[in-house]
Symmetry: C2
């Protein structure tokens, strides 16, 4: 039997493009002699469709798309992912399902049993878990078809009380197929391979695994679909961050023969390399799927905006990136020079809009209220917010989307101005700690100097008052980031972090700042998610709560 | 047996104040001769604690608080709500539990079985549902203790596959006690009474129901705890929007005698009256629990900011409200006059900060880029954003929190400026449609004219260009709001709404605008929730999705 795996980039709710893409790949697979082509979880509507799923009209459109796909699916079988109404009287309205389609008809329906509801996942919000499990017979082969999380109930620390494959294995299947929507995080590829390998070897079955690729707002799917033989050996690993269609012959004895030169990564890409690729895809899909092509950002001469500018130029083309220098009276000469060097290196468009007279206008207008009160954070923020108003005005006038340039460290401790530098349509590096931003800059410069060396080596500064440095207000970033990592990614207690050897006062202050900044993060743009614990929908904290604050 | 119901206002994560409040009420109840005092769901940590629950340190603090409460609980029994570790090997890390405490010890633990995971609820994110159900014996009485949603599995359209009371009833309990965290929506009190009444009459048992009161950021709990006799007759209804401690004698024959003059509302308060009370409590708790006391807002002379100003003055005291008039060259004389009249009627502080020179400074700075391109939304938004910068500067200088004044209709269709009038710490009327804002204004004026009649009757305008009216861009609000209500609250399809008699073009345009404005709403402040479907955590939509857009 010849099986095709279709690792594709869908668009949430765009039935027209998703359906066309699926049908097109069915045709290609049939023309290439495949018996079965496998698409990923909820491919019909895209993932995550979120509360679109609560609209009956949306669910009807899914069914309409499935009908069109089924009609096109003759002379070959396919597996697609689709949300369908739960026909049992009890439970949630929907099932997260897979259709097995053959000869233009849905021959079997499999419902997902294990519904992730942690971090970015909300599946139990919509779907009723399945409690029935049946293999699918197809051309003399018995297929154990499951959906993503169904294979992920950890043996050591089970999150769920059932394990679908323990039931399906009793029906003596010949092969496992798993359709997935498994999002990127820099450590997730290895975890995925380990979990799936474990399934193949435990159940002694070949395993075909098809993942999504592409970004849906902040969630990036990295592809990397996998094929294992019945000993748990990884036979093939599809490309990361791009679409792919691959063919395999599955023999009666379970031997899998790829039709192409199958590749398995001998060495994993570094975290930074993966983050780099993920962000490029994240930017591209954010713009493409919103129907925009041109980005704007404020360039300070510092490393954060330089890295974002370089990533945007790579993702969208330098000609589609407008960098704006917005000097105030506190901007240093070297900052302007560094920003200009970057623009030159990238070849992107740029403008300079000095904000001195704008901030003076604010200060004059507010003089009756502020009188002679000393310069403080109010005037600092006026600068940052004036820049945002200029950038947004250019967006409104010319049709750009503003890129946010905040990093994860400053987003964590609230070292940023709400409605100022925290503005933007999408946050590009908001899930990248400052110390990782330095690594990313070095990585971007790996072939030639794009980001000026001076932007990398000079002490970070917001330049909102004379001689300001980030370290006036914050610990050194190598300390800060380690504390933040333990608190955010590992959810360690303050006591545990202090026990690791960090200064008690610093730890308590960093955690306190992080918890107090929740109200700022609530109003910031979606953040491209590259870590296992990003700010945004994966981390839901009270605002007016009191905890270590 | 004498039972006390403690309907209290907790603060998420504030163990010190929650524990002290619980212990204080245990003492009061004991001094008053009660055998048992009942607190509400998850009272120890507050509700919703959200991802605080994922921190082991937070859970330890809950257990520490419970120990202190138990130590104080002698000579009386109490029921408290608390998150506890799930000690079974499978499933989520926690249970949403109730402790039955007697003689300083936890005598029984009940775990919640039905975990709401819709709208604002995320309980399945944290908790494993219970599958075991046992009554509690106390002084010869058998108590069927359940937690909130446990009694809410609808008979007609069951959302869950189990019903805890169907199991507990077999153990022949004498009384039902339900501890809850049931948030306010203007129609929820009636629904709550109907569901609980149905439980009391179906199981032929008296029912004591204790709810939270108080706001946790955007979620407002309205109290209104309930007592039913074993025929389903409502015996008592505790006050709404305030704390209460009430006593009841439960006789062997199931007869309930309140110790006070029990009251049951003969006539429900109107929706607007309830919304009014909810918003007042919402503002008060937002400020009190964040440690702030003073609010600022921009006053345009229009009805939205007038209503917010009046509500803030009522909630915080007029002396704690700073109203800022921010005229531009497009502001009409009557707007300034209306704003001044309002300030006079309320007696709140006010300042005037003209923004004309500020917007001119932006236009001058941007002239090299904008050249002689015609005035458009870019310049309109510069005005709105300049106002936000002024207001935020005053926040930073003087320690105010900015109140957002957007209404639900404009938040829906995106008729507002991101980082401009969409700014603020909390959105006061963002869950109130424009047509309801008019009702609210009339209600606020029910005793005397507070909001100038002219602000109510003049055609709504953003005054960002000459002679602008909202109806230049939007349908009349009475049409717009009806379409929005069907789409947002009822999740009707465009076809269904058109079939109701609305103009097809208008319906499609309104739905399209609503879906396209998702990126704006993502970055707006938390919105005090007063309806069953508010923007924010209860409505989670894709941003870069394509659906009816």
């Amino acid at each position: 039997m010849k099986i095709a795996l279709a690792q594709l980039n869908y668009h949430v709710g765009n039935f027209e493009s998703n359906t066309a893409k699926i049908i097109n790949h069915i045709k290609m697979a049939r023309n290439n002699g495949a018996d079965l082509v496998v698409f990923s979880e909820l491919c019909v509507c895209g993932y995550p469709a979120r509360d679109f799923l609560e609209f009956n009209e949306f669910i009807s459109q899914c069914e309409g798309a499935a009908k069109a796909i089924a009609a096109a699916c003759t002379g070959i079988a396919c597996i697609i992912g689709i949300p369908i109404p739960n026909h049992k009287p009890e439970g949630k309205e929907l099932n997260n399902s897979a259709y097995f389609i053959e000869n233009g008809e849905v021959k079997a329906i499999v419902n997902k049993a294990l519904l992730p509801n942690y971090d970015i996942f909300d599946e139990y919000r919509y779907f009723e878990p399945s409690v029935e499990f049946n293999c699918i017979e197809f051309k003399g082969i018995r297929i154990a078809l499951t959906i993503c999380e169904d294979l992920w109930n950890d043996i050591e620390n089970p999150l769920y009380i059932t394990r679908p494959m323990d039931i399906l294995i009793k029906q003596q299947p010949d092969v496992m197929i798993n359709i997935a929507a498994s999002p990127f995080a820099y450590n997730h590829d290895e975890e995925r391979i380990a979990i799936l390998k474990d399934n193949a070897s435990r159940y002694k079955l070949p395993l075909f695994y098809v993942n999504h690729v592409g970004a849906q707002t902040e969630i990036i799917f990295d592809g990397g679909s996998l094929v294992f033989d019945n000993t748990g050996k990884l036979v093939d690993e599809l490309p990361y961050f791009e679409e792919s269609l691959a063919y395999y012959t599955l023999a009666k004895d379970g031997i899998i023969t790829p039709e192409h030169a199958a590749t398995v990564k001998v060495e994993r890409d570094s975290d930074i390399e993966q983050i780099h690729q993920a962000i490029i895809l994240g930017i591209q899909d954010y713009f493409y799927k919103s129907g925009f092509s041109r980005a704007i950002l404020g360039l300070s001469g510092g490393i954060d905006s330089a890295v974002v500018c370089a990533l945007a130029a790579e993702a969208l083309g330098a000609e589609n990136v407008m960098a704006v220098l917005l000097p105030s009276k506190f901007s240093s000469d070297h900052s302007l020079k560094d920003a200009e060097d970057l623009v030159k290196n990238l070849g992107c468009k740029h403008e300079t809009v000095p904000i001195r007279h704008i901030t003076e206008a604010f200060e004059t207008a507010l003089h009756p209220q502020f009188k002679d009160l000393p310069f403080n954070i109010a005037e600092e923020n006026i600068q940052s917010r004036s820049r945002a108003v200029v950038l947004m005005a250019m967006c409104n006038k010319f049709g750009y989307i503003l890129l946010n340039t905040s990093n994860k460290s400053e987003a964590a401790v609230g070292y940023g101005t709400l409605y100022g530098d925290m503005c933007g349509g999408i946050s590009v590096i908001g899930d990248v700690y400052k110390t990782q931003v330095f690594e990313l800059a070095r990585h971007i410069n790996r072939h030639r100097e794009i980001i000026p060396e001076n932007s990398i080596i000079k002490p970070p500064s917001a330049e909102l008052r004379p001689d300001q440095k980030d370290t006036d207000s914050l610990p050194e970033y190598d300390i800060l980031d380690k504390i933040l990592f333990e608190y955010i990614e590992h959810r360690c207690s303050s006591a545990e972090i202090i026990k690791m050897g960090f200064d008690e006062h610093t730890v308590r202050r960093v955690i306190r700042l992080t918890n107090l900044a929740e109200h700022k993060r609530y109003q910031t743009p979606p953040i491209l998610r590259v870590s296992p614990k990003a700010f945004g929908m994966g981390r839901r904290m009270p605002i007016v709560g009191k905890y270590l604050s």
